[in-house]
C-alpha cells in the first residue's frame, strides 16, 4: 500500500569544527505492526520502515534496523562529530521496497 511518508530532519545549517552535532530525524509513517485486525476481523498486513541509513559525504555515519515495536512516525536521533562541510543523505526503507530520501547540507567553519 502506498504510504504518504514525509521525512523530516532537524539540523543547523552551520557547525563548528569538532562540534558534536545532534541529528534529529522523523518520518511520518504508520508503522503497521502486523498485529492488528481490521473491522472485518482480517489481519492487517505488516508494513513498516525497516531500515534507516545516514551518510555524510558518501560515508555511512549511522544505520538502524527497525521492527514493529518502534512507534509510528519513527523518530531517531544520534550524534555526529563534525570535521568538514558537506552533505548529509538520509534514506528510510519501507517493507514494500520504497526508499524515502532527504538531504541536508551543512557548513563547518
Amino acid at each position: 500500500m502506498a504510504i504518504d511518508a514525509k521525512p523530516r530532519i532537524k539540523l543547523p545549517k552551520t557547525a563548528a569544527k569538532g562540534e558534536l552535532l545532534e541529528v534529529k530525524t522523523l518520518i511520518t509513517h504508520p508503522m503497521e505492526s502486523g498485529q492488528r485486525k481490521d473491522d472485518k476481523g482480517q489481519p492487517i498486513p505488516r508494513q513498516i520502515i525497516n531500515g534507516f541509513v545516514a551518510t555524510f559525504n558518501g560515508r555511512q555515519v549511522f544505520k538502524a534496523d527497525l521492527y514493529p515495536s518502534l512507534s509510528a512516525n519513527p523518530y531517531i536521533t544520534f550524534l555526529v562529530k563534525m570535521e568538514e562541510s558537506g552533505k548529509f543523505e538520509f534514506a528510510w526503507t519501507d517493507d514494500d521496497g520504497t526508499v524515502y530520501r532527504d538531504v541536508k547540507e551543512i557548513t563547518v567553519g
Binding site: 558534536l20 505492526s33 498485529q35 555524510f56 560515508r59 555511512q60 555515519v61 549511522f62 544505520k63 538502524a64 534496523d65 527497525l66 521492527y67 514493529p68 515495536s69 518502534l70 512507534s71 509510528a72 519513527p74 523518530y75 531517531i76 536521533t77 544520534f78 550524534l79 555526529v80 562529530k81
Partner: protein, 135 residues
Amino acid sequence: AAAGTVFLPPPAHATVEAATKFMASLIGNRTPVAGRVKLTMPEIAENGNTVPVAVTVDSPMTDADHVKAIHIMADGNPAPEVASFHLSPANGRAEVTTRMRMSTTQNVWAVAEMKDGSVFIDKTEVKVTIGGCGG
C-alpha cells in the same frame, strides 16, 4: 481515578526467553555485563504508543575503542525486537534516542556491543498504567 477505561484483551506477549533468544541471535554466546551502557526511559509511560527511549554508552568512540551497535529489545511486547543502531567513531559520542510501543508494563533492555567484542547491558522497567487520579 481510573474508571471508564476501555479494556482490551491482552495481546500475546513476548517473554524473557524470547528477548534472550533475540539477544543471542545478535551477540552469540557472549555474556553481557552491567555497566557503560545507560538506558533512560520514563518510570511510567504516558502514552503506550510512543514511549521515549534514550541510550548512552560510555565510550571514547575512537577507532580503537568504540561502540559498534546498540540493540533495544523488550520482554513484554508481542515480539521482543525494537531496534538496532549501528555506530562508528564518526558519531563522536554514543548517544541515541527513539520512541517505542509498549503494550503492557515490562522491562526494556539496551545491549551495547563494543569494538573489542565486549557486550554491556542495562534494563529498565516501564510501567503502563490505567491512570487517572491526582492531587
